[in-house]
Symmetry: C2
């Protein structure tokens, strides 16, 4: 049930989520220590539990916020999926905790209840892709969810490499990395 | 320095690695408990430390073994990278712990010394791709390491999805999932 949240509580919530972001991105859900998040936010465990209920509750709230931010910053553009993938790449470069949080989420929370923010953002994006396929703007070689999934997967390519691989591609500058993502999605659409 | 290892020690080492595989794949390096691995292998902590030195040493030995197994099971075939990606998909389907372990490794061990097994397997595969590009068998639109990286990344597509995404693609049967990987790599090569 929605209720009025006074600004001071909003600010405290935001401060806790910011500290949680760094801790969870670095070490994941299991490795995260509420004590460290409390210290980093000049807060305490009781306050964190008051706002989020549990470490898992804090993690889920952070994921929800991150998904919402990404949707706002990089809305899907079915008229130009390569460009959309390029903007996702930019967004991950600016906010490197995003792909890390998404990966921890996948590894550590897969057995839990689905997060409404992810379900609804997926549904919206899939509907947009389906609409564009029906309109003939996008190829129908993959079903909408699969095409969307492949595009997002390719956008995250540079965030999914091992350190051993990274040493082989140090010469590939960020602008070229971005272009590789854009080109790969272009190829996917040409089939 | 190589030394003679009696078969009994080999068998114990294999038993410990098997128990370690399930534990690390499920909860990662930080989350893993040596006590659980000891219990699952009818062993004890002292024995594990005797063989592997530390929890990190056990994890690295497991990653090394997994990389070696995957190379043996799915050698790179630069004459047909889409088919190679399909076989990687098959291998991950048979051994679902492999992509999970690789992901934990990337998240939890990136700051540590590179693993020789990964470095040398990468070097070998990149050299093969480079050779094929020079011979005109593979396109030169991406440098060898990048092309290899993209192919492996696409092969792991179905192991990198969120549970929320999975509910959207329950109708996509394994054979179709495999074909999607093969097709996506084919598109990448056609450019």
């Amino acid at each position: 049930m929605a209720s009025f949240t006074p600004p001071a509580a909003d600010a405290m919530r935001a401060k806790l989520l910011l500290a949680a972001r760094d801790e969870f991105a670095a070490v994941g859900l299991t490795g995260a220590r509420i004590e460290r998040i409390a210290a980093a936010s000049s807060s305490n465990k009781a306050q964190i539990f008051h706002y989020f209920g549990s470490k898992e509750g804090l993690f889920d709230a952070l994921i929800t916020q991150t998904v919402t931010e990404t949707l706002t910053e990089v809305p899907i553009d079915t008229d130009d999926l390569p460009a959309y993938a390029g903007r996702l790449f930019d967004s991950y470069a600016r906010r490197p905790w995003v792909p890390r949080l998404a990966t921890w989420y996948r590894l550590e929370r897969a057995a839990d209840a689905p997060l409404e923010a992810i379900v609804s953002s997926n549904a919206e994006a899939v509907a947009a892709v389906e609409h564009a396929q029906r309109a003939g703007v996008l190829p129908r070689s993959y079903r909408p969810a699969v095409l969307l999934g492949l595009v997002v997967h390719l956008a995250g390519f540079w965030d999914a490499t091992t350190p051993e691989f990274d040493t082989l591609v140090t010469a590939v500058v960020p602008a070229r990395r971005r272009q590789i993502v854009v080109d790969a999605v272009g190829s996917l659409l040409r089939g």
